[in-house]
Amino acid sequence: MLTNEDQFIRDAEGLNIDDAPRAAHRQDLKRRMLAVHEQSLSQTERPRSADRPLRIGRWTVNKRIASIAAAVLVAACATGMILLLTTGGADVAWADVQDKIRNTRTFVFTMSVQMEGQPEYVMRVMFLGPGRMRQETIKPDAAKGVVNIFDLNKEKMICLVPQQKLARTADLSAFPEEVRKKHLESAGPLSKVKEMIKGAETELGEKEIDGRKAKGYEVEKDGHKMTVWVDAKTAVPIEMTTRAFGDFQVTMSDFELNKKLDESLFSVEPPEGWKVEEFPVPKMGTVEDVVGLLRIWSKVTGAFPKGLTPDHLVKELVKREKECSKEDMKKLAGYMQQTVILLVLHPEARYAGEGVKVGDAKTAVFWYQPKDSETYKVVYGDLTVKDVAEDDLPADPRKPSPDDEADDQPKD
């Protein structure tokens, strides 16, 4: 053996190696793999409002531009939670829980949204079906008392800031179709939810919560899991938690079903005597916005940013505020806002600029597929833009690939 290559291969074939795959592992892995694939597709093809808007919301709140994004975020989380909640099975007890939701006209709960390193958002959320929602902010302190009201029948939203007697209004029908669609999907769940009751759940047994005997269920939909604890006697929800949306820890509690809610709570008309501002209708982000952002950023810092998320950009920008002229800062803020909108509306967009040399004409730093376009817009390190077919795109920088994983690739 081993006298030469051919001999080695021949002899290796004669080795008695127990290397036959197990059918059980093959089947189990296939099931898991397809679930991951499906989840991956659904995350990129469905609205990702629960994925990114927290950052957007925080940024916009910090920049005092608008709290609409934060409101949409919370609505998105609420929607997701409720969709999960109402995806149950045929068990009698679970059916009772579903019935409670299905038959409720109003639905009130407290929702906490937490992400590591971010301030906790706590809101009292009220749904008055169909299509009306009110969110009263409890935390963070800076936003305490701020109220967001959506009325999808009127396609209007209002944000009330009591401390300033300020009402910010938004005509959702005037928003670009994609943005509007996302807002509507995020904020109008209750009637839709009632039609979506199917699926399966796992029982988690019983425990005591605040002196009440509670029964637990694990509900799963589209790969997202949620734990639901309900009153063992009345089937009214007590607590629901999930980490389904990326890094979010979302908890809903203090539920009230069929609570009498005054119609005036859902008015989208500004209170008399308050200052009224209109949310600007957002423009759609374009590749020019991304190029503009990268141009100014690289001019100021000498390099491309590590990422395009608002959190990262804002943090870095604050550090380098003195190095950036007021004019550039203003332009940059505009480009950033438009880029964020582009990222939200284009989940297929990818950024790979970290470490790329500014001026490198061969390396792609950003790409996305404009609406109704067969090809992708690709931005290179010299900030030129080219149209590229999907098959010719660079490897996804956020996913494992031979290059990504080649931390110890042998090099000759």
């Binding site: 290559e5 290796a12 290397d19 793999m33």
Partner: protein
């Protein structure tokens, strides 16, 4: 042992697999065996090989939508490249490496006790121990070429080197293996 030859329609299958679970499932069926065998040949222990195989296909499922390969051969190279790196990462830990070698040594001892030994042809546990004594990059090339029987072009594509370099590396590793087994058996 080899996984040669893309089946007819494989390139179209890859294109569809980016968005279709059914197509990805078909690709999986075509390549699962090859990846698993490569993993078990590198890792010896079935359970560990299954874990790494799982990690490979789960990574693929999460990123195939944006995988830039054009044909099934690219996909296969991608699978083996991911597997290689996952395997290397696993055995980079000396504790885990020692655990695999301990299992191989135990099996070798059991075989020696139960079967007559042909000193000219070492058994699998002995060969595995010898391969495991090589550098990680040599282990990869020996397994891909010698056990999986991939052509040098594919070995090279998997490891990100030139085919000529893969050939040189394989022959160099073979020489070391001969020496290692000669020490063990007196001749190889």
């Amino acid at each position: 042992m080899s996984i040669d030859g893309a089946a007819e329609g494989g390139d179209d299958l890859l294109r569809r697999a980016r968005r279709s679970g059914e197509a990805l499932g078909q690709l999986y069926e075509r390549h699962y065996d090859g990846v698993f065998r490569y993993c078990i040949h590198r890792l010896f222990v079935r359970e560990v090989a299954e874990d790494i195989t799982s990690a490979v296909f789960l990574a693929v499922a999460g990123s195939i939508r944006t995988f830039g390969g054009r044909c099934e051969q690219d996909f296969r190279n991608w699978l083996f490249a991911i597997a290689t790196n996952r395997i290397n990462a696993h055995i980079r830990s000396s504790k885990r490496r020692q655990a695999l070698l301990a299992v191989a040594a135990a099996q070798r001892r059991i075989r020696l006790a139960g079967e007559p030994v042909d000193e000219r042809r070492p058994d699998w546990p002995s060969l595995y121990e010898a391969i495991a004594s090589l550098k990680t990059k040599e282990q990869a090339v020996v397994t891909l070429r010698g056990l999986e029987q991939l052509p040098y072009e594919q070995v090279a594509a998997t490891l990100g080197i030139k085919p000529s370099a893969a050939r040189v590396r394989f022959n160099r590793a073979l020489k070391k293996l001969r020496a290692s087994l000669a020490n063990r058996f007196g001749r190889a």
